[in-house]
């Protein structure tokens, strides 16, 4: 059984036309997947369905064999990291280092363990020089990497990134791509939701296209 399984997913907004139709999808833990499609086709919506943040009109989403809704949000987030399209939505702390360690402290880890993990993530995402900076003062690319670092600090089994390359210049896209390659090398799979085919192509072994509400591989 796949790690994430979508079975006959149909979705429509209240009083809206069908957005997603008969979607079946199996994602394994180490898959690297690109989900592409035009603006407004439902990519972000599909991402939220995978995370259980939205419920399908029909069909079901399974996470490790159980309906995703059966997991409390906190457990879902620990197993599948979710990086929002706007990274500012998930920045809560007063410094970059605090941001990475934020959830770890709430998990009950002691300060040495938290510090070790924070250092590891800051090095992985090249944010050491910014460890004391206020997260909202970072550039967009740095915020993206910080959000990914904070999510990865929880050691999820899979990561979902929503439009991570939006607004990034050539160099920052390259840095993000390098960071994602490192994520893949750690055995953590990911699905990148994006309209940027060029960015995804280099990073993903599978490409799924969402068009007319249906999913094509």
């Amino acid at each position: 059984m796949a790690f994430i399984q979508l079975e006959q997913i149909n979705f429509r907004w209240p009083q809206g036309p069908p957005l997603l139709r008969d979607i079946n999808l199996a994602l394994n833990r180490q898959d690297t997947v690109a989900l592409v499609g035009s603006n407004g086709c439902g990519k972000t919506t599909l991402g939220k369905l995978i995370m259980g943040l939205l419920s399908p009109t029909q069909g079901r989403v399974l996470l490790d064999g159980r309906p995703v809704g059966d997991y409390p949000l906190a457990q879902r987030g620990e197993r599948v990291g979710y990086v929002f399209q706007n990274p500012e939505k998930q920045l809560f702390a007063a410094s970059v280092a605090d941001e990475v360690g934020f959830a770890l402290r709430h998990r009950g880890l002691n300060s040495d363990q938290v510090e070790a993990k924070v250092e590891e993530m800051l090095a992985l995402f090249e944010l050491e020089r910014r460890r004391d900076a206020f997260p909202f003062n970072l550039s967009h690319g740095e915020k993206q990497r910080l959000a990914l670092a904070a999510v990865l600090a929880l050691d999820p089994e899979f990561v979902l990134l929503d439009e991570p390359s939006t607004g990034l210049d050539w160099l920052r896209k390259r840095k993000l791509a390098q960071a994602l390659e490192k994520v893949g090398q750690r055995g953590v799979g990911y699905i990148i939701i994006s309209h940027d085919h060029g960015f995804c192509r280099q990073l993903c072994a599978r490409t799924l296209t969402l068009e007319g509400g249906k999913l094509y591989e």
Binding site: G40, L168, W170
Partner: protein, 242 residues
């Protein structure tokens, strides 16, 4: 031919801090497309805000040097005078569209300039035709896709009939199809003599640019003249390191 936009020795600073932009000089002719590239935080958006008079009128910064819009000094122009001649479109359509129907968005600018009602209607018709949004006039902008919203945001600015258009990363959130539509509209505008300055991260959007300037460390250099693209060596120099 007189320049549509002329920038001479312009520096921009926020408060007492070091200038974000130093000693920029360039001019933009009617019908010309100039691209502006550079790493994040280099001041591209700040440049757009200064050229549109947003700094210092709305945002508390200092602009030194001279900016001439259609031959007139920007500091001597009133808000109506600036907005009649210069339009600016930003990256996020969600913070540019705030009215319940597309038609209301297109009418908003001309209404503010006390354009007579019949003329507003005529402009809406023309702009909708030009930008291809005639079928969405009664739609709620929130129900359009991101690409459609950005086209509406552009149309809403074009309703003011600007002679200079500043586009601040307008394609950042758009898929290739929507980017193509924006490019077609830009080509059309250039044929009408509108001067366009386009800030971009996505270099594919600048293949038709007459010139591309790069900003780095607040200073400017011309990266490409004529319709070319940035070489890998140039890219590395432009974007450098974090």
């Amino acid at each position: 031919m007189n320049a549509a936009l002329c920038v001479q020795g312009v520096s921009v600073a926020w408060g007492q801090a070091e200038p974000v932009l130093s000693d920029l000089s360039f001019s933009l002719a009617p019908g010309e497309l100039m691209g502006v590239v550079g790493p994040s935080g280099c001041g591209k958006s700040t440049l757009c805000q200064a050229l549109a008079g947003i700094i210092p009128r709305q945002l508390p910064g200092q602009v030194n040097g001279e900016i001439r819009l259609l031959g007139r000094n920007l500091t001597e122009l009133t808000l109506p005078q600036i907005t009649t001649d210069l339009g600016i479109v930003f990256q996020d359509p969600q913070t540019q569209l705030f009215l319940p129907r597309v038609m209301n968005e297109l009418a908003f600018g001309p209404e503010n300039l006390t354009v007579p009602r019949e003329e507003i209607r005529a402009r809406i018709g023309d702009i909708a035709q030009q930008t291809g949004c005639q079928d969405w006039l009664e739609a709620n902008p929130n129900q359009l896709s991101g690409g459609q919203q950005q086209i509406v945001a552009l149309a809403a600015v074009l309703a003011l009939q600007p002679r200079v258009l500043l586009l601040d990363e307008v394609t950042a959130q758009l898929d290739p199809h929507s980017c193509k539509r924006i490019q077609d509209i830009i080509s059309d505008l250039r044929r009408q003599g509108v001067a366009v300055l386009m800030v971009e991260h996505n270099l594919e959007q600048l293949t038709k640019a007459d010139r591309i300037i790069s900003l780095r460390g607040g200073r400017m250099e011309v990266a490409v003249t004529g319709q070319g693209s940035l070489s890998p060596a140039m890219l590395a120099r432009v974007y450098g390191d974090d």
